[in-house]
Amino acid sequence: MAARLTSQCYLASFRTLRRYKGQLSGKDITLKICEKPTLSTTSTEARENHSKYDWIGPPDPVSNIRRVHFRVSENEAPYERRLREERAKVQEWSHQFWKKHNTSFVQLKGEFIKQKLAKKSASRETTMANITITPDEMSEFYKKFLDDNYEVHKNYNWEWYKKNISLTWLTLKANLLNIITRRNKGNK
């Protein structure tokens, strides 16, 4: 019975989905409950995921990197597995980098603002409500931050270009091999 029901795979037309995207009233939901895949998805339970495609989530609030839940197919080939793992690794690496970078940006910006406000309130006799920081003053901070992180960005850029190219190359190989060996995976 479970098998029969799992074979009723419902693939919604995305146009239908989009039309209902903004609506808040009740509507039919197709719920698919599967095990939560971890970012590295190497566990055997991940194979239970019967979706045909990857799912992409929202941007992370800190790192702004979108997390992709990778689909693990039943007869996954070794090159596909490698591709999936590489993608997960790169995603995690990007996420960690930007998380660290953005948290330090927010933190340093907060400190800078506090310092500036303190200086301003010390130098004047006016009330706190009148003290603001102009964009020109903020731009001092922006410049400082950018200059301080120059090496960090340079390294990240170089690494990112290399990883991006290698991932694309792996995807190309995987797709070509899939076509040659006539596997029907449905995903690109």
Partner: protein, 489 residues
């Protein structure tokens, strides 16, 4: 809606959904015209019925407290189009493994991907056979998840069965946490593909580039051939699409950081990077081939040079040095030169002048634009003048606005246009210089916006003035009159 009719529709919808997939991708209008029930109709009908007959809480209940853990070992699916859907509450059932199987599993959470609503829900569920509710705040829907040890899947029989249907959610004491977030299946929708390609190739920017190319063609003193113009336009457009696609391919994590670019196609995962690269390769090859075969090799070389400069030099340099603005200006200056060479076949001083005018225009345009994006550029790691050296940013904008006056005066000297152009472009250039001066003095967001907006009007107006004052048809008569005068006297 009558019960039998509803049941018929539900039955039919089940058959429909088991039909070959291709049928499900038929457009809804077609389905409606064939009187086949689309999901649309079913939903609307069930909603109407429900709304008349049920009360539902207007304020959605919170999700937080009282969730506990359990394990799930299988994927299950449920269609909500059954008789249970008389309320905004949907019920699904989860298979819970028997006691012995649970130990083999390492993860204790599961994720509910809610396709229709593009949501995903991370849930950790209780150990017991219990019914608990998860509220989806985006939809104001409540999802009842019955955890049933029978390892069978049932739709919730009647709407009145579960307790939480009719009233506020009891904060269930056996679900420890749930996070709801929007999630999307990465399936490529072929019907929206042209739209995605346009977004990928930054179609508006490409359109402006093509317009400058056409202006360059129009200004060139060669014969006007419509076919060559069209081929040049097409080739430039394709090359520009390719360049923009490669740019987006290379900059995915950086684009995701900035507000202006975070909704790009690759950042949202709508197309895969390989797809974008394939599109870029295809359009670039086609564009350059068209330019080589249908126009002339000079234009093709210029096009290839622009493509290489933009993707290989400008894109990485944006993050390494302030000089990227100058390189980018060269990239923007080449299309009119390409248009000129498409017409005449040689690089003349006039072509270089057209290029120089566009080059000079880029600075007030871009510097004003980047002035308000300083925070995003700083956080994203882009080294732009507005962040790195704000004073230089404003100085350079002013400098090139003044230079624009000089270049427009140079146009008649190089026999590109008549002196009329030098005269009637003066008001435009003077106003541009005035706005750049205000930007230089004030350096605030208002002046930068004014400068940017005006620069968008300035260049089309300038190009039109150039076209109407073109030397080879407008100025020729004046030249003849002068030479006649001189020969007579």
């Amino acid at each position: 809606m009558h019960r039998h009719r509803r049941n018929y529709l539900i039955f039919f919808s089940q058959c429909w959904q088991n039909s070959p997939l291709i049928l499900q991708f038929l457009p809804e209008r077609l389905l409606c015209s064939l009187h086949l029930p689309t999901q649309n109709i079913l939903k609307r009908r069930s909603q109407k019925h429900w709304q008349h007959s049920r009360q539902y809480p207007t304020k959605p209940a919170p999700i937080e407290n009282g969730l506990q853990e359990t394990l799930v070992d299988r994927t299950t699916e449920y269609h909500g189009t059954g008789p249970a859907v008389h309320s905004p509450y949907k019920t699904i059932q989860v298979i819970v493994p028997s006691q012995e199987n649970r130990k083999q599993l390492s993860s204790k959470n599961f994720t509910v991907f809610v396709k229709d609503s593009n949501l995903a829900l991370d849930v950790t569920v209780t150990d017991q056979k219990q019914e608990f509710s998860i509220h989806l705040p985006f939809l104001k829907n409540l999802v009842n998840v019955n955890v049933d040890k029978n390892e069978a899947i049932r739709k919730n029989g009647k709407s009145g069965e579960t307790k939480s249907n009719d009233k506020q959610v009891n904060p269930p004491k056996y679900i420890s946490s749930g996070t709801v977030y929007g999630c999307r299946e990465q399936k490529l929708e072929l019907d929206k593909l042209p739209h995605y390609y346009m977004r990928l190739s930054k179609i508006r920017l490409t359109g402006l580039v093509v317009l400058t190319t056409m202006a360059g063609y129009g200004m060139a003193p060669g014969p006007f051939e419509l076919e060559t113009l069209l081929m040049c336009t097409l080739g430039t457009a394709l090359t520009s699409c390719s360049a923009n696609s490669i740019n987006q391919f290379l900059e995915v994590p950086f684009d995701s950081q900035m507000n202006r670019t975070k909704n790009r196609v690759l950042v949202c995962g709508i197309l895969s990077p390989l797809h974008a690269l394939a599109f870029a390769t295809f359009s670039g090859t086609m564009g350059l081939m068209i330019l080589t075969l249908e126009v002339n090799p000079v234009t093709a070389v210029l096009g290839a040079f622009t493509l290489g400069l933009y993707t290989m030099v400008y894109t990485p340099m944006k993050r390494l040095s302030v000089a990227n603005t100058w390189v980018g200006s060269v990239v923007g200056a080449i299309p009119p030169v390409m248009g000129w060479t498409a017409c005449t076949g040689v690089l003349e001083p006039g072509a270089l002048l057209m290029g120089a005018i566009l080059y000079a225009w880029q600075f007030p345009h871009f510097n004003a634009l980047s002035w308000n994006l300083r925070q995003d550029y700083s956080r994203g790691g882009y080294r732009m003048m507005s962040v790195v050296n704000p004073a230089m940013c404003r100085r350079v904008a002013l400098r090139y606005s003044v230079g624009m006056i000089g270049l427009c005066t140079l146009a008649p000297v190089l026999n590109v246009t008549s002196w009329t152009f030098a005269a009637d472009s003066l008001p435009l250039n003077i106003y541009l210089t005035y706005l750049a001066y205000r930007f230089y003095k004030d350096g605030d967001s208002h002046s930068s916006r004014m400068l940017f907006m005006f620069s968008l009007i300035h260049i089309p107006a300038l190009l039109m003035l150039m076209l109407i004052s073109k030397k080879s048809f407008g100025g020729r008569n004046e030249d003849k009159v002068k030479t006649e005068d001189m020969s007579v006297s």
